[in-house]
Symmetry: D2
Subunit: 411 residues, 4 copies
Amino acid sequence: MMEGPALLERYLDIRRATERLCEPLAVEDYVVQAMPDVSPAKWHLAHVSWFFETFVLRQRADYRPLDERHAVLFNSYYNGVGPQFSRAARGTLSRPTVTEVFAYRAHVDKAMTTLLEHADRLGPATPVIELGLHHEQQHQELLVTDLKHNFGVNPLQPAYRARSRPRRAAAPHSLVAFEAGVVEIGHAGTDFAFDNERPRHRVALAPYALGSHLVTNAEYLEFIDAGGYQRPDLWLSEGWRIARERDWQAPLYWEAIDGAWRAYTLGGAAPLELDAPVVHVSYYEADAYARWRGARLPTEAEWEHAASGRPVDGHLLDDDPDDPRPAAAAGLSQLFGDAWEWTASAYLPYPGFRPLAGALGEYNGKFMVNQMVLRGGSCATPRSHIRATYRNFFPPDARWQFSGIRLAQDS
Amino acid sequence: MMEGPALLERYLDIRRATERLCEPLAVEDYVVQAMPDVSPAKWHLAHVSWFFETFVLRQRADYRPLDERHAVLFNSYYNGVGPQFSRAARGTLSRPTVTEVFAYRAHVDKAMTTLLEHADRLGPATPVIELGLHHEQQHQELLVTDLKHNFGVNPLQPAYRARSRPRRAAAPHSLVAFEAGVVEIGHAGTDFAFDNERPRHRVALAPYALGSHLVTNAEYLEFIDAGGYQRPDLWLSEGWRIARERDWQAPLYWEAIDGAWRAYTLGGAAPLELDAPVVHVSYYEADAYARWRGARLPTEAEWEHAASGRPVDGHLLDDDPDDPRPAAAAGLSQLFGDAWEWTASAYLPYPGFRPLAGALGEYNGKFMVNQMVLRGGSCATPRSHIRATYRNFFPPDARWQFSGIRLAQDS
Amino acid sequence: MMEGPALLERYLDIRRATERLCEPLAVEDYVVQAMPDVSPAKWHLAHVSWFFETFVLRQRADYRPLDERHAVLFNSYYNGVGPQFSRAARGTLSRPTVTEVFAYRAHVDKAMTTLLEHADRLGPATPVIELGLHHEQQHQELLVTDLKHNFGVNPLQPAYRARSRPRRAAAPHSLVAFEAGVVEIGHAGTDFAFDNERPRHRVALAPYALGSHLVTNAEYLEFIDAGGYQRPDLWLSEGWRIARERDWQAPLYWEAIDGAWRAYTLGGAAPLELDAPVVHVSYYEADAYARWRGARLPTEAEWEHAASGRPVDGHLLDDDPDDPRPAAAAGLSQLFGDAWEWTASAYLPYPGFRPLAGALGEYNGKFMVNQMVLRGGSCATPRSHIRATYRNFFPPDARWQFSGIRLAQDS
Amino acid sequence: MMEGPALLERYLDIRRATERLCEPLAVEDYVVQAMPDVSPAKWHLAHVSWFFETFVLRQRADYRPLDERHAVLFNSYYNGVGPQFSRAARGTLSRPTVTEVFAYRAHVDKAMTTLLEHADRLGPATPVIELGLHHEQQHQELLVTDLKHNFGVNPLQPAYRARSRPRRAAAPHSLVAFEAGVVEIGHAGTDFAFDNERPRHRVALAPYALGSHLVTNAEYLEFIDAGGYQRPDLWLSEGWRIARERDWQAPLYWEAIDGAWRAYTLGGAAPLELDAPVVHVSYYEADAYARWRGARLPTEAEWEHAASGRPVDGHLLDDDPDDPRPAAAAGLSQLFGDAWEWTASAYLPYPGFRPLAGALGEYNGKFMVNQMVLRGGSCATPRSHIRATYRNFFPPDARWQFSGIRLAQDS
């Protein structure tokens, strides 16, 4: 566990990184919320500060909050802490202004710095601060995906940032086989991990193979062109119903103009990059695509077993926010970064799971139903945030994350 | 009809008045939309410019729009002109920014100024410009009511502007009787009026009496205290259903804190001013209140007959935006200003009604169903905009306008 | 006012007429409710009995209800009497069975017969019984329209009853002019009328003309063929929205099969009868049709002034339930029967309106908002139930009644 | 696999058993559908016949359907076969009548009998007939649960059948421990099993313990009395939201009258039987209850490992439809019958899962998302239908099945 000066440095680094992601924004861009699942940028900026304020600073007698009303406004979902302002209405609040939100951040940073400069006073706060930093990194990713959404559904489709992407071809695709066995997955040891990654436990695997890379836009286009969105036999029943209701004909942000596909990216709308990984597909689409290929999605145990021990490389947020890139190397790659990979596993507690004590137990555990696990991080995930045991989770109809597809097969 | 230099001066006056209403705003305040019925301030600023651009400037060969995409973004509901961006989603757009919207205004103003400086070129545009100015005045009122709403439902309840209101007692209330007769209502002559005010026509009136003033907060409190919101026998069936579904227990913006009523005003939340007119009631509440008093609401013909020939005085927008004020004078007063008065009349075409030709015919006529007429203007109505024949209209459940109550009785 | 033996005879006649309408039904047909606006036949049978039980029999000390639970189950909307079972869920109740409902009718009939055989005991009950009989006649009409709906949306489209209709051509259409004037409308005198038809009062009419007949299916087809359902300029804004949401392309019950229109009738699906009046159109469609013809709908005052003093002839329910028939006679006709005629008048209280005292005051008055007046009765209206002053009312989107169109014009 | 005469006998037995369940019904009881999840009894009767007709009889050249329209009306969800009548609107159809539905059954039975009497002609139909019989047994259970629902939410709460239940105390509760190990679950061999029970495969189990019996009403009452429905910390986030929206304060069918709990049963409303197993709880309630007890729900692997090899005894449908009964024996019991047991396992494909070929592949596989597995059968499950490997599944908010709770613990 990191301590004292190192922790302070890390705190300031991560806090600065969050603000750096906002540099391209106009004031107005901080305010809007184009659908209930996303949050305004200024809400993210405030909420991560609220987290430190609530779980670290307010536990100490000498802290004075800047404004008591922040307690409700910036509580996301912690019933154990108190009531919450309506999630779907976050984008209806013009106040506090962006300036006021940055002042709130400064107020929290000042108190946190004082605290971290006196490491001897930290006591049980250290792991909570550690959690708060990982929490802020999660919101860095959400900042990027939510901004992409707010910009992407605006008819003007402004770029989040100009980009100059070297084009490259994807490395050739192959299947990588794994043997059957009883293996261990889940986190062990004292390094940071979320409660939902523990405990490490045994699972029995049948022989299987994984696709070496993420499915590309070109490959996914074949599914579309083969009528994949018109064939109920390829879809889960619930997925078919939703795809019809929402008139899904392609991944989110795709648009066919005069027969040519374009996709909105962080750099603005552009011709679809065929060799890049397909992203912004729901679990339903990932599952239907795999079925059409005569394949399936990997389970989270299969994925983790394959990823375990490999270096956390790949295209992650630290490279500067940029959409997923074509696979560079042959063989099993892209496990980390580029796109979260939908797995065939429901998000459920591991055997022996124990949530954190108190209100922080609401962080992960209470969402363990009706969601699917995604693995590996995306182009919007900070490098120091991801690891092989990391379990992300979203409802199967979610599409605004950088969510993609890796195929698996029985072998 | 106003022409040439006078029209230019009036154009610039009204455009400036609109912008003056925005002076107290932070950038963020221009962006949000707290419910589908209201629009972001920057949308109002752009839409009124779009009106001149669409119906005046684009009719001329030499005009170059600033951005073709404004045509869809800022069209409110004119199907005859083209498609419209989703009304309920106006608050999800961070772009164009406020700065860009003001640039759009400047672009339109420049072209309009050039046009108006050459009055000889105006031709058939003059009445359309006149209409555009009245249209902009309507949106001045909506700017105020929509800002009040966005601020009022924000838990921080920021003030739109600081106010210092002299308190005064309401003048004594009385009944003012009118004789039966066949009278004329509606607009005649060449002065500006909307199409829905024409033609002037005969109506038969039975003897009636009107309350001398608007119903006050104190009087309305008696209704609340008598259980008015718990007695279905006082309500229209549809009103009762809606009041239950939305849990109405008092007018919009009222809040009981420790047994004392407070109301959000343009100056922020404040103790309820008992002698001021009650506002932010729906038609359903106005109707239930009147029934409880053994009275009824006036018809629009009764109201107009009473108001006809009286001077347009009263507390209107030009005094600076401020909530309704207690009645100052004894006898029939407050007909103009303070609060729009719900009438018992459905919004329907007058006998012989002809809408304007072309897309401008959509301005009023297509809304003539399921709405009720309100008369007299409010504290947010510009003085030069209101007149005795003016017909405002809202669905019976609308509460965010400055809508109040004047009682009537058969006599 | 009818009394004693004559009233008993009338009571029994009307009660029998209700049951006769059910003779073609299978047990299952009494149970279902294909949309919230319609009620199961057995609910109608029970509710009209509940009306006599509640407002007549329970007022007397010696009456014993068959089952106390009927008080809630068969209360439609009288808050003054007590709570009501959910309207939309009436079709989820298999019990009481049809046999039990007929037993309930017999129980009420027995007590009512005893009461009516002793006219001296009636006292203030007489006008309530009179009201109850008119109430039951209203439900005779609803029985027919609701059965038509339940059968008509069933893919099997069973006939309510076999019919053999002589075909005939519609009489030629013309315009019938009326002079301007201040006339009286509304009910006067001691004959039965609903409270909403009173008091008689003066209205000023401009010169107008009415179509001699109801608009025919052939005429309405021209509107469809001219793209009437695709042109927003013809529609009220709210109507256009609803027509799009519900995908209206023709009147309810019409179906185009291989380019030929068929319509479901009480006799089953049949080729569209071109000379018969168009029915099952909403107010929105009636209004759009009239606008397309360069005409408008009549006001209720215009209609009543034209109908006043004319004999109540026409195709009504007593002929046996059958869909509307082509106009037989030249000149102004079809005022009564065949189809209710949408008027341009909102359903509002007449000047001086007083609802009945007590819970019966909920009969009509509380619905006076967001509905439009229809006049003249339909093929499902009993002859002794209709008159020139009769005001029917439905929301503008209602289509399952026999609602049709008569054109009007300024002249 | 059963063949020839034995299969005919079994076919007739199961078909008769279905009809026997309908003996207590009035005609009206066959028609209604009190919520979208349930189906009218006559729909069940027809649908199971449709299954044989569609997948067996129509595959043969000599079969003549009784009515081609049944193909759509009684298709539940098989897109591979063709379109389906709206599920939520099944209760709006009065036709075909009950008599007609029984005629449909007879028509199918006649053709099936002829076929089964000539076993040599069966060929590949045998496993489909076998599937059809298990399908019909599933609908026997649904007939009972759906009738219970339709009756139970009717204010009259009629009994499905009179019952005379001997009261008995529940056997004492204990924990039964199981060792860790890599075990096999899933179906192997040639006996009938659904595709979703295959293939048999290895799973790793940590040491665990199961409650010896189902949780009783008395035990669940303690949860209620301890404020279980008011404590968000006990609930999954989604469960808490739904419990609030639907105002859940107790299991379905419970009602507190003057402080005493009553529950609707197949025998009508009765005082809550404290020693009987709690039923009609959702997964959310089962999960919250377990958390409150410091326990958890078993996984389906834990359950199956414990149940494997045990005799299929317990209170099942064949005893006559009756609500769950108190546990009779000490030690691990009630595994089969009484109540389906919610597991902590999401309904997902087993490793190597292959759905049936063709449209029958839609039977189970397409529902493998957002549902939880239940195990063990209930008092409404036929004895010959249930087995240790059987996987039932429902969305976590479903309550109208006989769904109960068995606790588990890590040990």
